[in-house]
Protein backbone atom coordinates (compact mmCIF):
# COMPACT_ATOMS: atom_id res chain seq x y z
CA UNK A 1 0.00 0.00 0.00
CA UNK A 2 1.21 3.45 -0.78
CA UNK A 3 1.74 6.03 1.87
CA UNK A 4 -1.38 8.21 1.90
CA UNK A 5 0.66 11.27 2.84
CA UNK A 6 2.61 11.04 -0.45
CA UNK A 7 -0.53 10.92 -2.57
CA UNK A 8 -1.76 14.44 -3.36
CA UNK A 9 -5.45 15.24 -3.13
CA UNK A 10 -7.27 14.57 -6.38
CA UNK A 11 -9.51 17.59 -6.10
CA UNK A 12 -8.48 20.84 -4.54
CA UNK A 13 -11.22 22.31 -2.34
CA UNK A 14 -12.32 25.52 -4.04
CA UNK A 15 -11.53 28.63 -2.08
CA UNK A 16 -14.34 30.98 -1.13
CA UNK A 17 -13.21 33.39 -3.82
CA UNK A 18 -13.20 30.84 -6.64
CA UNK A 19 -16.62 29.58 -5.46
CA UNK A 20 -17.93 33.11 -5.80
CA UNK A 21 -16.36 33.24 -9.25
CA UNK A 22 -18.16 30.08 -10.39
CA UNK A 23 -21.45 31.34 -8.98
CA UNK A 24 -21.06 34.66 -10.75
CA UNK A 25 -20.20 32.89 -14.01
CA UNK A 26 -23.33 30.73 -13.76
CA UNK A 27 -25.49 33.77 -13.10
CA UNK A 28 -24.06 35.64 -16.08
CA UNK A 29 -24.80 32.64 -18.32
CA UNK A 30 -28.42 32.43 -17.10
CA UNK A 31 -28.81 36.19 -17.59
CA UNK A 32 -27.36 35.97 -21.12
CA UNK A 33 -29.63 33.07 -22.12
CA UNK A 34 -32.58 35.05 -20.80
CA UNK A 35 -31.61 38.09 -22.85
CA UNK A 36 -31.09 35.93 -25.92
CA UNK A 37 -34.68 34.74 -25.62
CA UNK A 38 -33.66 31.15 -25.11
CA UNK A 39 -36.71 28.96 -25.22
CA UNK A 40 -36.64 25.17 -25.01
CA UNK A 41 -40.14 25.03 -26.47
CA UNK A 42 -39.11 26.95 -29.57
CA UNK A 43 -35.94 24.91 -29.94
CA UNK A 44 -37.95 21.66 -29.83
CA UNK A 45 -40.65 23.02 -32.13
CA UNK A 46 -38.04 24.05 -34.68
CA UNK A 47 -37.43 20.46 -35.77
CA UNK A 48 -40.55 20.02 -37.92
CA UNK A 49 -40.22 23.55 -39.33
CA UNK A 50 -36.65 22.95 -40.31
CA UNK A 51 -37.66 19.69 -41.93
CA UNK A 52 -40.36 21.55 -43.82
CA UNK A 53 -37.80 24.15 -44.99
CA UNK A 54 -35.42 21.42 -46.12
CA UNK A 55 -38.12 19.57 -48.04
CA UNK A 56 -39.09 22.76 -49.84
CA UNK A 57 -35.45 23.70 -50.44
CA UNK A 58 -34.58 20.32 -51.90
CA UNK A 59 -33.50 19.69 -54.60
CA UNK A 60 -31.42 22.83 -55.16
CA UNK A 61 -32.38 24.95 -58.14
CA UNK A 62 -29.74 23.64 -60.54
CA UNK A 63 -31.34 25.44 -63.50
CA UNK A 64 -30.32 28.72 -61.82
CA UNK A 65 -26.68 27.67 -61.55
CA UNK A 66 -25.45 29.59 -64.63
CA UNK A 67 -26.90 32.95 -63.54
CA UNK A 68 -25.90 32.38 -59.91
CA UNK A 69 -22.39 31.48 -61.06
CA UNK A 70 -22.03 34.90 -62.66
CA UNK A 71 -23.08 36.46 -59.39
CA UNK A 72 -20.48 34.30 -57.65
CA UNK A 73 -17.82 35.52 -60.08
CA UNK A 74 -18.74 39.09 -59.16
CA UNK A 75 -18.47 38.12 -55.50
CA UNK A 76 -14.95 36.81 -56.03
CA UNK A 77 -14.04 39.95 -57.98
CA UNK A 78 -15.16 42.06 -55.01
CA UNK A 79 -13.12 39.87 -52.67
CA UNK A 80 -9.95 39.84 -54.78
CA UNK A 81 -10.02 43.55 -55.63
CA UNK A 82 -10.85 44.59 -52.06
CA UNK A 83 -8.26 42.26 -50.51
CA UNK A 84 -5.54 43.33 -52.96
CA UNK A 85 -6.08 47.04 -52.34
CA UNK A 86 -6.31 46.36 -48.59
CA UNK A 87 -3.01 44.45 -48.61
CA UNK A 88 -1.23 47.21 -50.56
CA UNK A 89 -2.60 49.89 -48.22
CA UNK A 90 -1.56 47.77 -45.24
CA UNK A 91 2.15 48.11 -45.93
CA UNK A 92 2.47 51.86 -45.17
CA UNK A 93 0.15 51.56 -42.19
CA UNK A 94 2.15 48.61 -40.86
CA UNK A 95 5.43 50.49 -41.28
CA UNK A 96 4.00 53.25 -39.07
CA UNK A 97 2.51 50.78 -36.58
CA UNK A 98 5.58 48.54 -36.13
CA UNK A 99 7.64 49.46 -33.08
CA UNK A 100 11.26 50.36 -33.71
CA UNK A 101 10.99 50.44 -37.52
CA UNK A 102 10.24 53.94 -38.82
CA UNK A 103 8.66 56.15 -36.19
CA UNK A 104 8.51 56.58 -32.43
CA UNK A 105 6.26 54.81 -29.93
CA UNK A 106 3.64 57.60 -29.82
CA UNK A 107 2.91 57.28 -33.56
CA UNK A 108 3.03 53.47 -33.30
CA UNK A 109 0.37 53.55 -30.59
CA UNK A 110 -1.81 56.04 -32.48
CA UNK A 111 -1.71 54.04 -35.73
CA UNK A 112 -2.40 50.81 -33.85
CA UNK A 113 -5.41 52.46 -32.23
CA UNK A 114 -6.75 53.53 -35.64
CA UNK A 115 -6.26 50.00 -36.96
CA UNK A 116 -8.01 48.62 -33.88
CA UNK A 117 -10.98 50.85 -34.64
CA UNK A 118 -11.06 49.77 -38.31
CA UNK A 119 -11.04 46.14 -37.16
CA UNK A 120 -13.70 46.69 -34.52
CA UNK A 121 -16.26 47.93 -37.06
CA UNK A 122 -17.92 44.81 -38.58
CA UNK A 123 -17.67 44.28 -42.33
CA UNK A 124 -21.44 44.70 -42.82
CA UNK A 125 -21.28 48.05 -41.02
CA UNK A 126 -18.48 49.18 -43.36
CA UNK A 127 -20.64 48.01 -46.28
CA UNK A 128 -23.60 50.07 -45.05
CA UNK A 129 -21.38 53.13 -44.67
CA UNK A 130 -19.98 52.78 -48.20
CA UNK A 131 -23.45 52.14 -49.68
CA UNK A 132 -24.32 55.57 -48.31
CA UNK A 133 -21.06 57.04 -49.61
CA UNK A 134 -20.84 55.56 -53.12
CA UNK A 135 -24.29 54.05 -53.69
CA UNK A 136 -25.59 50.50 -53.99
CA UNK A 137 -23.50 47.94 -55.82
CA UNK A 138 -20.22 46.02 -55.80
CA UNK A 139 -17.98 49.11 -55.47
CA UNK A 140 -19.34 49.72 -51.95
CA UNK A 141 -18.68 46.05 -51.18
CA UNK A 142 -15.14 46.26 -52.48
CA UNK A 143 -14.42 49.29 -50.28
CA UNK A 144 -15.85 47.45 -47.27
CA UNK A 145 -13.60 44.45 -47.96
CA UNK A 146 -10.64 46.81 -48.39
CA UNK A 147 -11.21 48.35 -44.94
CA UNK A 148 -11.67 44.93 -43.38
CA UNK A 149 -8.44 43.66 -44.96
CA UNK A 150 -6.56 46.82 -43.98
CA UNK A 151 -7.52 46.47 -40.32
CA UNK A 152 -6.48 42.84 -40.30
CA UNK A 153 -3.36 42.78 -42.50
CA UNK A 154 -1.77 46.05 -41.34
CA UNK A 155 -1.86 44.91 -37.74
CA UNK A 156 -0.34 41.50 -38.50
CA UNK A 157 2.18 42.91 -40.99
CA UNK A 158 3.37 45.19 -38.18
CA UNK A 159 3.73 42.24 -35.83
CA UNK A 160 5.57 40.31 -38.55
CA UNK A 161 8.05 43.17 -38.99
CA UNK A 162 8.63 43.46 -35.26
CA UNK A 163 9.45 39.76 -35.14
CA UNK A 164 12.19 39.61 -37.79
CA UNK A 165 15.79 39.16 -36.72
CA UNK A 166 17.21 42.63 -36.00
CA UNK A 167 20.84 41.71 -36.79
CA UNK A 168 20.88 42.85 -40.44
CA UNK A 169 19.01 46.05 -39.55
CA UNK A 170 21.62 46.89 -36.91
CA UNK A 171 24.47 46.20 -39.32
CA UNK A 172 22.95 48.70 -41.78
CA UNK A 173 22.24 51.23 -39.05
CA UNK A 174 25.94 51.08 -38.20
CA UNK A 175 26.77 52.26 -41.73
CA UNK A 176 24.51 55.31 -41.46
CA UNK A 177 21.60 53.97 -43.53
CA UNK A 178 18.24 55.76 -43.22
CA UNK A 179 15.34 54.08 -41.48
CA UNK A 180 13.24 53.81 -44.63
CA UNK A 181 16.14 52.18 -46.49
CA UNK A 182 16.67 49.76 -43.59
CA UNK A 183 12.97 48.87 -43.57
CA UNK A 184 12.99 48.27 -47.32
CA UNK A 185 16.17 46.20 -47.39
CA UNK A 186 16.49 44.43 -44.04
CA UNK A 187 13.01 44.23 -42.53
CA UNK A 188 10.41 43.86 -45.30
CA UNK A 189 12.35 41.20 -47.26
CA UNK A 190 12.81 39.16 -44.08
CA UNK A 191 9.11 39.49 -43.23
CA UNK A 192 7.94 38.66 -46.77
CA UNK A 193 6.95 35.00 -46.18
CA UNK A 194 4.91 36.07 -43.17
CA UNK A 195 3.33 38.86 -45.26
CA UNK A 196 2.27 36.38 -47.94
CA UNK A 197 0.81 34.02 -45.38
CA UNK A 198 -1.07 36.85 -43.66
CA UNK A 199 -2.33 38.12 -47.03
CA UNK A 200 -3.71 34.70 -47.89
CA UNK A 201 -5.63 34.66 -44.60
CA UNK A 202 -6.86 38.13 -45.56
CA UNK A 203 -8.07 36.83 -48.92
CA UNK A 204 -9.87 33.89 -47.30
CA UNK A 205 -11.55 36.30 -44.89
CA UNK A 206 -12.46 38.58 -47.82
CA UNK A 207 -14.11 35.74 -49.77
CA UNK A 208 -16.17 34.77 -46.72
CA UNK A 209 -17.24 38.38 -46.09
CA UNK A 210 -17.99 39.14 -49.73
CA UNK A 211 -20.66 36.43 -49.92
CA UNK A 212 -22.97 38.25 -47.52
CA UNK A 213 -22.34 41.86 -48.54
CA UNK A 214 -25.36 41.54 -50.86
CA UNK A 215 -27.62 41.45 -47.79
CA UNK A 216 -27.08 45.20 -47.47
CA UNK A 217 -26.95 45.92 -51.19
CA UNK A 218 -23.19 46.04 -51.53
CA UNK A 219 -22.93 43.59 -54.41
CA UNK A 220 -22.21 39.90 -54.77
CA UNK A 221 -24.21 36.74 -54.39
CA UNK A 222 -25.63 37.67 -50.99
CA UNK A 223 -28.47 39.52 -52.68
CA UNK A 224 -29.68 36.22 -54.20
CA UNK A 225 -29.77 34.68 -50.74
CA UNK A 226 -31.85 37.56 -49.44
CA UNK A 227 -34.24 37.52 -52.41
CA UNK A 228 -34.53 33.74 -52.14
CA UNK A 229 -35.69 33.94 -48.55
CA UNK A 230 -37.86 37.02 -49.11
CA UNK A 231 -39.76 35.32 -51.94
CA UNK A 232 -39.88 31.92 -50.18
CA UNK A 233 -37.81 30.56 -53.07
CA UNK A 234 -35.99 28.18 -50.77
CA UNK A 235 -34.55 26.11 -53.61
CA UNK A 236 -32.56 29.09 -54.87
CA UNK A 237 -31.54 30.02 -51.32
CA UNK A 238 -30.29 26.48 -50.75
CA UNK A 239 -28.34 26.59 -54.01
CA UNK A 240 -26.67 29.83 -52.91
CA UNK A 241 -25.79 28.46 -49.48
CA UNK A 242 -24.19 25.37 -51.03
CA UNK A 243 -22.28 27.45 -53.60
CA UNK A 244 -20.92 29.71 -50.85
CA UNK A 245 -19.81 26.71 -48.82
CA UNK A 246 -18.07 25.13 -51.80
CA UNK A 247 -16.26 28.33 -52.79
CA UNK A 248 -15.17 29.21 -49.25
CA UNK A 249 -13.86 25.70 -48.62
CA UNK A 250 -12.07 25.66 -51.99
CA UNK A 251 -10.37 29.01 -51.28
CA UNK A 252 -9.29 27.81 -47.83
CA UNK A 253 -7.82 24.64 -49.34
CA UNK A 254 -5.92 26.52 -52.01
CA UNK A 255 -4.68 28.98 -49.38
CA UNK A 256 -3.45 26.13 -47.20
CA UNK A 257 -1.54 24.54 -50.09
CA UNK A 258 0.08 27.83 -51.13
CA UNK A 259 0.99 28.64 -47.54
CA UNK A 260 2.58 25.24 -47.06
CA UNK A 261 4.63 25.69 -50.20
CA UNK A 262 5.88 29.10 -49.14
CA UNK A 263 6.89 27.87 -45.72
CA UNK A 264 8.42 24.79 -47.33
CA UNK A 265 10.58 26.92 -49.63
CA UNK A 266 11.87 28.79 -46.62
CA UNK A 267 13.36 25.70 -45.00
Amino acid sequence: MTDAALSPARLARPSALSFLGYAAGAMILVWALEGAGFSLDKALASGPRLADFLSRAWPPATERLPSLSWKMVETLQIAVAGAALGVVLSVPFALLAARGVLVGPAVNAAVRAVLGFIRAVPDLAWALVFVVAVGLGPFAGMLAIMMDTLGFCARFFADDMENVDKGPAEALEATGAKKLDIAATAIIPAAMPAFVSTSLFGLEKAVRSSTILGLVGAGGIGIELKVGFDLFDYQTAMTVILMIAVVVIAVEQVGAVVRRRIIGVEQ
Partner: protein, 258 residues
Protein backbone atom coordinates in the same frame (compact mmCIF):
# COMPACT_ATOMS: atom_id res chain seq x y z
CA UNK B 1 49.15 40.61 -15.38
CA UNK B 2 50.50 43.58 -17.20
CA UNK B 3 48.66 46.87 -16.90
CA UNK B 4 49.84 49.50 -19.30
CA UNK B 5 48.74 52.95 -18.24
CA UNK B 6 50.43 54.45 -21.31
CA UNK B 7 47.68 53.19 -23.61
CA UNK B 8 45.12 55.45 -21.97
CA UNK B 9 44.58 59.13 -22.39
CA UNK B 10 45.46 59.46 -26.08
CA UNK B 11 42.07 60.95 -26.72
CA UNK B 12 43.28 63.81 -28.88
CA UNK B 13 44.47 61.68 -31.82
CA UNK B 14 42.11 58.79 -31.16
CA UNK B 15 39.41 57.48 -33.52
CA UNK B 16 37.39 56.46 -30.49
CA UNK B 17 37.63 57.91 -26.99
CA UNK B 18 35.32 56.65 -24.30
CA UNK B 19 35.12 58.23 -20.86
CA UNK B 20 33.12 57.27 -17.78
CA UNK B 21 30.86 54.92 -19.72
CA UNK B 22 28.18 53.18 -17.64
CA UNK B 23 25.23 51.01 -18.64
CA UNK B 24 22.67 49.11 -16.57
CA UNK B 25 19.64 48.49 -18.87
CA UNK B 26 17.52 49.86 -16.04
CA UNK B 27 18.54 47.03 -13.70
CA UNK B 28 20.04 47.51 -10.26
CA UNK B 29 23.47 46.10 -11.09
CA UNK B 30 25.27 47.88 -13.93
CA UNK B 31 26.58 45.80 -16.82
CA UNK B 32 29.64 48.05 -16.62
CA UNK B 33 30.51 51.44 -15.20
CA UNK B 34 33.30 54.01 -15.27
CA UNK B 35 34.91 52.64 -18.44
CA UNK B 36 37.68 54.78 -19.99
CA UNK B 37 39.61 53.82 -23.09
CA UNK B 38 40.77 55.17 -26.41
CA UNK B 39 41.54 53.55 -29.74
CA UNK B 40 44.14 55.19 -31.95
CA UNK B 41 43.82 55.55 -35.71
CA UNK B 42 44.60 52.27 -37.45
CA UNK B 43 44.79 50.35 -34.21
CA UNK B 44 43.11 46.96 -33.64
CA UNK B 45 41.60 46.64 -30.19
CA UNK B 46 40.60 43.21 -28.90
CA UNK B 47 37.82 43.08 -26.34
CA UNK B 48 37.58 39.87 -24.32
CA UNK B 49 35.46 38.68 -21.43
CA UNK B 50 33.11 35.92 -20.32
CA UNK B 51 29.60 35.47 -21.72
CA UNK B 52 27.43 38.31 -20.50
CA UNK B 53 30.41 40.45 -19.48
CA UNK B 54 29.01 43.28 -21.62
CA UNK B 55 31.20 43.20 -24.74
CA UNK B 56 28.38 43.49 -27.28
CA UNK B 57 26.70 46.18 -25.21
CA UNK B 58 29.94 48.17 -25.05
CA UNK B 59 30.38 47.92 -28.83
CA UNK B 60 26.78 49.11 -29.40
CA UNK B 61 27.40 52.09 -27.13
CA UNK B 62 30.50 53.00 -29.14
CA UNK B 63 28.37 53.40 -32.30
CA UNK B 64 25.51 55.04 -30.42
CA UNK B 65 23.22 52.11 -31.29
CA UNK B 66 22.17 52.03 -27.64
CA UNK B 67 22.36 54.95 -25.24
CA UNK B 68 24.48 54.42 -22.11
CA UNK B 69 23.36 55.65 -18.67
CA UNK B 70 26.41 57.87 -18.31
CA UNK B 71 29.66 58.74 -20.00
CA UNK B 72 30.83 60.20 -23.28
CA UNK B 73 31.77 58.59 -26.59
CA UNK B 74 33.90 60.58 -29.01
CA UNK B 75 33.74 58.71 -32.30
CA UNK B 76 35.97 60.07 -35.09
CA UNK B 77 36.20 63.35 -33.23
CA UNK B 78 32.48 63.84 -32.60
CA UNK B 79 30.39 63.25 -29.49
CA UNK B 80 28.03 60.73 -31.05
CA UNK B 81 25.63 60.59 -28.11
CA UNK B 82 24.99 64.33 -28.38
CA UNK B 83 24.32 64.36 -32.14
CA UNK B 84 20.90 64.52 -33.72
CA UNK B 85 19.69 61.70 -35.94
CA UNK B 86 20.92 63.19 -39.23
CA UNK B 87 24.42 64.11 -37.96
CA UNK B 88 24.68 60.71 -36.31
CA UNK B 89 23.89 59.01 -39.61
CA UNK B 90 26.45 61.18 -41.37
CA UNK B 91 29.08 60.14 -38.84
CA UNK B 92 28.21 56.47 -39.24
CA UNK B 93 28.99 56.66 -42.96
CA UNK B 94 32.55 56.09 -41.75
CA UNK B 95 31.75 53.09 -39.57
CA UNK B 96 30.61 49.52 -40.07
CA UNK B 97 29.62 46.40 -38.15
CA UNK B 98 30.28 42.71 -38.64
CA UNK B 99 28.41 40.49 -36.19
CA UNK B 100 28.67 36.81 -35.55
CA UNK B 101 25.62 35.44 -37.37
CA UNK B 102 22.25 36.25 -38.97
CA UNK B 103 24.07 39.16 -40.40
CA UNK B 104 22.75 39.06 -43.96
CA UNK B 105 19.16 39.35 -45.12
CA UNK B 106 18.46 35.69 -45.90
CA UNK B 107 16.08 35.99 -48.86
CA UNK B 108 18.15 38.42 -50.89
CA UNK B 109 21.14 37.80 -53.11
CA UNK B 110 24.66 38.20 -51.80
CA UNK B 111 25.19 41.09 -54.22
CA UNK B 112 22.11 42.96 -52.95
CA UNK B 113 23.29 42.45 -49.38
CA UNK B 114 26.69 43.92 -50.21
CA UNK B 115 25.15 46.87 -52.09
CA UNK B 116 23.14 47.59 -48.93
CA UNK B 117 26.48 48.40 -47.33
CA UNK B 118 26.41 51.56 -49.47
CA UNK B 119 23.05 52.77 -48.15
CA UNK B 120 24.76 55.14 -45.75
CA UNK B 121 26.54 56.83 -48.69
CA UNK B 122 23.54 57.04 -51.00
CA UNK B 123 20.12 55.73 -50.11
CA UNK B 124 16.92 55.39 -52.06
CA UNK B 125 15.02 52.69 -53.92
CA UNK B 126 17.74 52.16 -56.53
CA UNK B 127 19.97 50.72 -53.82
CA UNK B 128 17.33 48.30 -52.49
CA UNK B 129 18.11 45.58 -55.00
CA UNK B 130 21.14 44.83 -57.12
CA UNK B 131 18.87 44.65 -60.18
CA UNK B 132 18.11 48.37 -59.99
CA UNK B 133 21.41 49.55 -58.51
CA UNK B 134 23.58 52.06 -60.39
CA UNK B 135 26.46 50.51 -62.27
CA UNK B 136 29.01 52.14 -59.98
CA UNK B 137 27.45 50.55 -56.88
CA UNK B 138 27.42 47.14 -58.54
CA UNK B 139 31.06 47.53 -59.53
CA UNK B 140 32.12 48.52 -56.02
CA UNK B 141 30.14 45.65 -54.50
CA UNK B 142 31.62 43.15 -56.94
CA UNK B 143 35.10 44.45 -56.15
CA UNK B 144 34.43 43.96 -52.43
CA UNK B 145 33.17 40.43 -53.06
CA UNK B 146 36.26 39.75 -55.12
CA UNK B 147 38.50 40.86 -52.27
CA UNK B 148 36.85 38.37 -49.91
CA UNK B 149 37.01 35.68 -52.60
CA UNK B 150 33.35 34.99 -53.30
CA UNK B 151 32.67 37.04 -56.44
CA UNK B 152 31.35 33.84 -58.06
CA UNK B 153 28.57 33.64 -55.46
CA UNK B 154 27.25 37.15 -56.09
CA UNK B 155 23.81 36.06 -57.29
CA UNK B 156 23.32 33.25 -54.79
CA UNK B 157 20.68 33.76 -52.10
CA UNK B 158 22.31 34.66 -48.79
CA UNK B 159 20.59 31.80 -46.94
CA UNK B 160 22.22 29.29 -49.29
CA UNK B 161 25.76 30.18 -48.15
CA UNK B 162 27.95 28.21 -45.77
CA UNK B 163 28.90 29.88 -42.49
CA UNK B 164 32.32 30.89 -43.81
CA UNK B 165 30.91 32.25 -47.07
CA UNK B 166 28.27 34.26 -45.27
CA UNK B 167 30.91 35.83 -43.00
CA UNK B 168 32.91 36.72 -46.10
CA UNK B 169 29.82 38.39 -47.56
CA UNK B 170 29.27 40.27 -44.28
CA UNK B 171 32.88 41.48 -44.39
CA UNK B 172 32.42 42.59 -48.00
CA UNK B 173 29.29 44.52 -46.98
CA UNK B 174 31.21 46.21 -44.15
CA UNK B 175 34.18 47.11 -46.37
CA UNK B 176 32.30 48.24 -49.48
CA UNK B 177 31.72 51.72 -48.06
CA UNK B 178 35.44 52.06 -47.19
CA UNK B 179 34.82 52.80 -43.52
CA UNK B 180 37.39 54.32 -41.22
CA UNK B 181 36.36 52.32 -38.16
CA UNK B 182 34.93 48.81 -38.02
CA UNK B 183 33.32 46.94 -35.17
CA UNK B 184 33.48 43.15 -35.36
CA UNK B 185 31.51 41.30 -32.68
CA UNK B 186 32.72 37.69 -32.63
CA UNK B 187 33.19 37.63 -36.40
CA UNK B 188 34.02 33.92 -36.42
CA UNK B 189 31.91 32.60 -33.56
CA UNK B 190 29.75 30.34 -35.70
CA UNK B 191 32.63 28.88 -37.71
CA UNK B 192 34.75 25.77 -37.26
CA UNK B 193 38.34 26.43 -36.10
CA UNK B 194 39.90 26.26 -39.57
CA UNK B 195 37.26 28.46 -41.22
CA UNK B 196 37.40 30.84 -38.25
CA UNK B 197 41.16 31.19 -38.59
CA UNK B 198 40.73 31.83 -42.32
CA UNK B 199 38.10 34.53 -41.76
CA UNK B 200 40.16 36.29 -39.09
CA UNK B 201 43.28 36.24 -41.28
CA UNK B 202 41.33 37.56 -44.28
CA UNK B 203 39.53 40.23 -42.26
CA UNK B 204 42.74 41.57 -40.71
CA UNK B 205 44.68 41.43 -43.97
CA UNK B 206 41.99 43.63 -45.57
CA UNK B 207 41.67 46.10 -42.70
CA UNK B 208 45.45 46.42 -42.30
CA UNK B 209 45.80 47.08 -46.02
CA UNK B 210 43.49 50.07 -45.77
CA UNK B 211 44.45 51.23 -42.28
CA UNK B 212 40.95 50.77 -40.84
CA UNK B 213 40.60 51.11 -37.08
CA UNK B 214 39.08 47.92 -35.63
CA UNK B 215 37.45 46.95 -32.37
CA UNK B 216 36.68 43.26 -32.18
CA UNK B 217 35.56 40.72 -29.63
CA UNK B 218 36.49 37.07 -29.49
CA UNK B 219 36.29 34.16 -27.12
CA UNK B 220 39.51 32.84 -28.58
CA UNK B 221 42.49 34.14 -26.65
CA UNK B 222 44.89 33.43 -29.49
CA UNK B 223 42.80 35.59 -31.84
CA UNK B 224 42.93 38.45 -29.37
CA UNK B 225 46.70 38.09 -29.02
CA UNK B 226 47.42 37.54 -32.71
CA UNK B 227 45.20 40.18 -34.27
CA UNK B 228 44.85 42.75 -31.51
CA UNK B 229 47.42 45.49 -30.96
CA UNK B 230 45.90 46.02 -27.57
CA UNK B 231 43.60 43.93 -25.38
CA UNK B 232 40.88 45.00 -22.99
CA UNK B 233 39.47 42.33 -20.65
CA UNK B 234 36.01 43.08 -19.29
CA UNK B 235 35.10 41.58 -15.94
CA UNK B 236 32.59 42.55 -13.25
CA UNK B 237 31.79 45.82 -15.00
CA UNK B 238 35.35 47.08 -15.35
CA UNK B 239 38.55 46.42 -17.26
CA UNK B 240 40.56 43.69 -15.53
CA UNK B 241 43.01 43.69 -18.44
CA UNK B 242 44.27 46.72 -20.34
CA UNK B 243 47.56 46.00 -22.02
CA UNK B 244 49.40 45.73 -25.30
CA UNK B 245 49.03 42.30 -26.84
CA UNK B 246 52.74 41.50 -26.81
CA UNK B 247 52.86 42.08 -23.06
CA UNK B 248 50.22 39.39 -22.43
CA UNK B 249 50.39 35.61 -22.17
CA UNK B 250 47.40 33.25 -22.46
CA UNK B 251 47.60 32.55 -18.72
CA UNK B 252 46.78 36.20 -17.99
CA UNK B 253 43.29 35.65 -19.35
CA UNK B 254 42.29 32.83 -17.01
CA UNK B 255 41.00 35.16 -14.31
CA UNK B 256 38.44 36.63 -16.75
CA UNK B 257 36.56 33.36 -16.88
CA UNK B 258 36.71 32.38 -13.18
Amino acid sequence: MALDAGTRGEAASADLAVTGLAMSFGGARPVFSGLDFAVARGEALALVGANGAGKSTLLRCCLGLVAPDAGAVRLLGEDILALGAARRRALRRHTGLVAQRHNLVPRLSVLSNVIHGLLGQAGGPRFWSHAAAPEEARTRAMAALDRVGIADLALRRADRLSGGQSQRAAIARALVSEPRLLIADEPCASLDPAAGEEIMALFFRLVRETGVTVIFTSHQIDHALTYGDRVLGLKAGGFAIDARAEALAPADFRMLYD
